[in-house]
Symmetry: C2
Subunit: 268 residues, 2 copies
Amino acid sequence: MDNRPIGIFDSGVGGLSAVRALMRRCPQESIVYLGDEARMPYGTRNRETILRYAREDLAFVLRHDVKAVLVACGTVSATALEDLRRECPVPILGVVDPAAAEAVAATRNGKIAVLGTAATIRSGAFPRAIAKLCPQAEVLGVPCPMFVPLVENGYIKPGDPAATLFAREYLEPVRAFGADVIILGCTHFPVLKATIGALVPQTVLIDTAKSAVAALEAALLKKGLCAGESGESSQFYFVTGGKEGFEGVAERFLGERFDGEVEVVTLS
Amino acid sequence: MDNRPIGIFDSGVGGLSAVRALMRRCPQESIVYLGDEARMPYGTRNRETILRYAREDLAFVLRHDVKAVLVACGTVSATALEDLRRECPVPILGVVDPAAAEAVAATRNGKIAVLGTAATIRSGAFPRAIAKLCPQAEVLGVPCPMFVPLVENGYIKPGDPAATLFAREYLEPVRAFGADVIILGCTHFPVLKATIGALVPQTVLIDTAKSAVAALEAALLKKGLCAGESGESSQFYFVTGGKEGFEGVAERFLGERFDGEVEVVTLS
């Protein structure tokens, strides 16, 4: 039993979908969240810069005595996780491998689609992770650049006309390809799950944040690191950008009135 | 007569609407363009950081022996232009004051709407510039956060359904307010001018890039700095982000097949 918090970091607010998933699945766990909005988006930086930012983010959450780290940033998970793993004294997970494993387990016809940011699709991280588990699976990556701005600007009601318009466009190649499983390969996208799901009711949608949290729970159980059931859990949010903008968007992700403690910090 | 180039800089690609306007209005003028995509968006940074970035951008274009500088970045124009002006040895203009002057000249009922990014609207730069020229004018600022991603992802055909959906939403308060002049207060927005204009046919739309170029031409004429009519003009583009992404988006702004020379550079 270990009541230390879990560290979660992201380049911005997207990682809050992992916070939401963790609070629902393991309500006894405390959380230290870092959202590095001042330097987002990571996806447009080169690999060296991403690694440097990721190391600073990791060092920050480690200073808060965390027992495990969830890298809730697709870009960092896709490009820098192996380096971080070598340097991290506690268990560390990303959002790519757990979702890939769940997709491989769920597909019946071996056709998996990945919806992601342009950077994530270009990185090829999901096809690589899937190929390691199931070389014969076919993977179609679809860049969905409008989904992040839609979520960040509040077009999130199930069936929202604007979100539906773009979802229809992005799902067209997915239908033509015949995927029976779709990975929502960006931590912003679960916020649009109902809108997307309504257009492809026969398809399994995989939420990378939920998959990662399930894998994290399994890792904690295995190592005897779970928090006690009776303990009081806490959530601390550190942001490098503005506090107000963060709180507004946090409600969209957490699906309830946000009343977490938020502190603005500067990373070296 | 002066055949040295004009320096134009922006935090990304938006300033290309100023390049387009300048190439059409003054085809004999050569251009050195800097798009600092690696550090965009500027709008989310604090004032000190914006000023530091702007100084580095300015120093870069000045090293290319320019005879005048157009700051095609709304954020820099709104927050750092006075500092830059004190430090710049050649004439320097932004995109706020010329558009404000044109709006004041065009309005009949004294009601001016400004469409901009959230950061530009929050800065209050347009209302301030308008108030200096015409204290009794009423100004309504409308943040339009979806327009930039729409333009950058190609939803730019006149009457595009997605762009129309958002334009309708953003123009609703403008109609209720009764503005007879709308400033397209972001250098991305002129790309959507036809889509926006179709929804408000009785309203004058002011393109900040065109206004700024007209003011620039006036300044060059006044100081005898115009290029010779017979000279060969050239355009050089420097970008701090990726070359390919830039070229793709450049076509959307310049409205033709882009064949400019692009070089990737690093700013300290």
